[in-house]
């Protein structure tokens, strides 16, 4: 067919080395998301700096005044500083806790679900970008930004929390169910889980809103599982006390119960807490002589954080692998990928 015409010189087709310019492509598509993420990290980061410096100092000073009052009925102390610290700390803790869920919602809806629903994902695949590379790019670049942003927030949170520790009486303990995670790398791992869950939900549902819901659900499940598993991921310390002293909380609890006369550890029986006599009788029947608690002291914080982070990252990795598997299966890329892998 070309014999009758002279093929025009392909001067217009510029030859580049290397593969598709993925970063340029992704930035073009997701610039608003990048701005939103930067803004979120900046706002929360600024809030944390404020909390770390001026708010902690003011609240600590107020607490010193308050403690100096020593229960005298009339005594002036800077109550607003204490309340402001408490409010800001409360909302920032919630916000940092919510970051992984925000990532999950965005990934499930905007990054993956909507693209597959509207067909723009298929458009990219038809433009020399294989589904595998498409997914790799859409996971890798956001993962870097999510890790950097969440990591920065978690570091600042840790600084702010450490600054208040021992100086502010109402500061939350290290094993508070939210602080336990906002203070360390598990939150970064949760955020990455959100991203991977978004990918899996997107390729499974191929619809914006179902993918959003599934991504949030998966992330919530992983967070709950990690929270429940955390105390058991590192050997705990056992502490027993006499029955007369009553149960104590010393740190992150793995298990607790009653010590019987034989030295056996048994769970606390069900009894009506409003009726001390009733409980007492139940304890007597078991032959309880004391309480035990298996717990983690603050010195276990980093081992616990790192083991849990590893566990969560494994789950996130499984989500990502699942997303690749589903995508290859639905698009028939498996054979091509295997071929490319063999080269």
């Amino acid at each position: 067919m070309t014999t009758l015409t002279t093929p025009s010189p392909s001067a217009t087709a510029h030859r580049d080395s290397g593969g598709p310019r993925l970063l340029s492509w992704l930035l073009r598509l997701h610039r608003p998301a990048l701005w939103a993420w930067t803004a979120l990290v900046l706002v929360l980061g600024a809030g944390l700096l404020w909390l770390w410096g001026p708010l902690t100092d003011a609240a600590a000073a107020a607490w010193r005044q308050y403690n100096a009052c020593d229960m005298r009925p009339r005594c002036a102390y800077d109550q607003p500083a204490i309340l402001l610290y408490k409010d800001v700390e409360h909302y920032i803790t919630l916000a940092v806790t919510a970051v992984p869920f925000l990532v999950a919602a965005w990934a499930g809806a905007a990054l993956f679900g909507r693209e597959l629903e509207s067909g723009t994902a298929q458009l990219a695949w038809a433009q020399s970008l294989s589904p595998t590379r498409w997914l790799t790019a859409k996971l890798a670049f956001p993962a870097v930004l999510v890790t950097a942003g969440t990591g920065l927030l978690v570091c600042l949170y840790h600084l702010a929390w450490s600054a208040g520790r021992g100086r502010i009486d109402t500061a939350r303990s290290w094993y508070d169910s939210l602080v336990l995670h906002t203070n360390g790398p598990t939150t970064v791992a949760f955020a990455l889980t959100g991203l991977a869950a978004g990918a899996l939900a997107g390729v499974l549902c191929r619809r914006t809103f179902p993918a959003l819901a599934l991504a949030l659900g998966l992330t919530a499940v992983v967070r709950a599982v990690a929270h429940l598993a955390m105390p058991h991921l590192w050997p705990s310390v056992t502490h027993t006390v006499d029955r007369s002293e009553g149960p104590v909380v010393l740190g992150l609890e793995a298990d607790s119960g009653l010590v019987t006369s034989t030295g056996a550890h048994v769970p606390v029986p069900r009894c009506d807490a409003m009726d001390p006599g009733g409980c007492s009788a139940a304890y007597d029947r078991l032959g309880a002589v004391g309480y035990y608690t298996e717990y983690h002291p603050f010195s276990h914080y980093w081992p616990l954080q790192l083991t849990t982070t590893a566990l969560v990252l494994v789950l996130a990795g499984l989500f990502a692998l699942g997303a690749f598997w589903v995508l290859r299966r639905t698009t028939g890329t498996a054979r091509a990928a295997a071929k490319a892998g063999a080269v």
Partner: protein
């Protein structure tokens, strides 16, 4: 350069229309030996017809010895067709006068065309169009 016009409702195969229009241009002297026929690309871009249809027409013209394809250069006219009466030929002047008389006699365009076709059919029976 010849410009093809495709009549989708004529019932005449598209490639035949291209052949006829090329021959018409050869007869009228609009195309002369050495002239280049438009490239298939140009024809299909203007008419939205299938490229293979153009190639088929050009092959047909080549088979009849009217054009030749030169590899990588295009398709060129080899010879012109018949004694194509130019604009100022006596035959054309006679026909012109005849048409004027028919018009003056009150004949409609269709009547004239029918008359002309009937006479053509009588004299050129069996000739390929």
């Amino acid at each position: 350069m010849i410009e093809y016009r495709i009549d989708r409702h004529s019932g005449v195969a598209t490639y035949v229309q291209l052949v006829q229009q090329t021959k018409q241009a050869l007869r009228l002297g609009l195309l002369r030996p050495g002239d280049k026929l438009p490239a298939a690309r140009e024809v299909v871009e203007a008419t939205a017809i299938n490229p293979n249809t153009v190639l088929k027409a050009y092959r047909e013209l080549e088979r009849e010895g009217l054009v030749e394809a030169r590899r990588g250069m295009g398709t060129f006219v080899r010879r012109s067709l018949g004694a194509a009466p130019a604009d100022d030929s006596p035959l054309r002047a006679e026909l012109d006068g005849w048409a004027a008389r028919a018009h003056a006699a009150g004949l409609e365009r269709d009547d004239v065309a029918a008359l002309f076709t009937a006479v053509l059919d009588k004299h050129f029976q069996g000739d390929p169009s």
